[in-house]
């Protein structure tokens, strides 16, 4: 896919997009919302004539020590086969334990043991899909004392072992860095930038946790200034890629979301032009 800016397709906008076909770079869906062959899925299939798609899974639980849920994996694989999306991704996190699904992106300790587990699960996923998948850095609210690797070191090793790509969520690193007292630019310098296949942008909330500010990845507002600034740094450092604006709570009018994506698109163009001039 070209390095363009797209939007996360959310159901309140589905009818309007189906009717008006507004201009945007691509549409990303959450795999778990379209596995049933529902009327919504048929709408998505019709949109394929006008849009490129990417499929973002939220429930594969790549960090589960017991491996992937094969039944769920088969359904995701069938969806990917039908939609032929430009990119497929899920998160560096876990959400299933002992047959119970927690509907959250739960944090992993960054250890050799976890690396073995996640790499094995990614390999199984890529085998089932017959293609590369990209792994997204999660928003973290805690870190584990026994982690022996940094998050970028962990991601780099996953890329090396499994050949996966990286989905770099710029908002998530701003959230994680604040909450875990990291420097986002230190974090960035450890990332294997060449493996990045897609960027995510979103808004976050600043909340009070027992008197301390904690950033919450609520996808409920426009992209923040700090995230835009970091995004500009990142695309000038690692190059432009397809970039997605996500909005999941207090979902605004479609025009607002398209406007955010258009801003990302202008930054991509400017960075691309500067890179071409420098070359």
């Amino acid at each position: 896919m070209k390095p363009v800016a797209g939007i996360g397709l959310r159901s309140p906008h589905l009818a309007e997009i189906g009717r008006d076909r507004p201009a945007t770079g691509f549409l990303e869906i959450h795999a778990e919302n379209y596995l049933g062959g529902s009327t919504a899925f048929l709408t998505i299939e019709r949109l394929r004539a006008d849009y490129e798609f990417s499929v973002h899974a939220v429930g594969l639980s790549l960090g589960s020590v017991d491996g992937l849920d094969e039944a769920h994996l088969a359904r995701v694989a069938a969806l990917v086969k039908r939609l032929e999306p430009a990119c497929v991704s899920d998160h560096l996190s876990w959400s299933v334990h002992d047959g119970r699904y927690f509907n959250d992106l739960l944090p992993l300790p960054y250890t050799e043991e976890a690396l073995d587990v996640v790499a094995r699960n990614i390999e199984r996923l890529q085998e089932a899909l017959g293609r590369q998948v990209s792994i997204e850095n999660p928003s973290c609210y805690l870190g584990f004392a026994h982690s022996t690797l940094s998050e970028p070191e962990f991601l780099a090793e996953l890329v090396r072992r499994s050949g996966c790509g990286l989905l770099f969520d710029v908002n998530n690193i701003v959230v994680t860095a604040h909450n875990l007292r990291l420097d986002p630019r230190d974090w960035l310098s450890g990332l294997p930038g060449g493996a990045i296949t897609e960027y995510h942008l979103a808004g976050h909330a600043v909340n009070d946790c027992d008197g301390q500010a904690i950033l919450i990845d609520d996808h409920g507002s426009r992209v923040g200034d700090e995230v835009w600034t970091l995004f500009d740094d990142v695309i000038r450092r690692y190059g432009v890629r397809p970039t997605l604006v996500e909005w999941d709570s207090d979902i605004p009018e479609l025009a607002v979301l398209l406007d955010e994506a258009a801003r990302a698109g202008r930054m991509i163009q400017a960075a691309g032009a500067d890179a071409a001039r420098a070359a």
């Binding site: 159901s11 009818a15 778990e32 973002h56 939220v58 609210y141 919450i216 999941d248 709570s249």
Partner: protein, 83 residues
């Protein structure tokens, strides 16, 4: 073929040629449209860091009479749940 069976057969056959307008009578409003398709997302609820463990422990104790459209439902034997 019994008389009843013949009557049933012809009633069913008659249904096949009734005008479409008569056939399609029913509800035409949308009950559950595509705007309700998405239930999986990848955000964190802003209320997640709200408060301390106090709210966890409240349980059902603060539940009183439900407050919603149920106020419109009258008659029968409606006794409000004790708060």
């Amino acid at each position: 073929m019994t008389k009843t069976r013949i009557a049933i057969a012809s009633a069913l056959a008659a249904a096949l040629v009734l005008p479409v307008a008569a056939q399609a009578q029913g509800n035409t409003e949308k009950c559950y449209g595509i705007s309700k398709a998405g239930k999986n997302d990848c955000q964190t609820a802003t209320s997640s860091c709200a408060g301390t463990s106090k709210k966890d422990a409240q349980g059902d104790a603060w539940l009183s009479v439900p407050k919603g459209a149920c106020e419109k439902i009258v008659g029968g034997k409606l006794t409000a749940a004790k708060g």
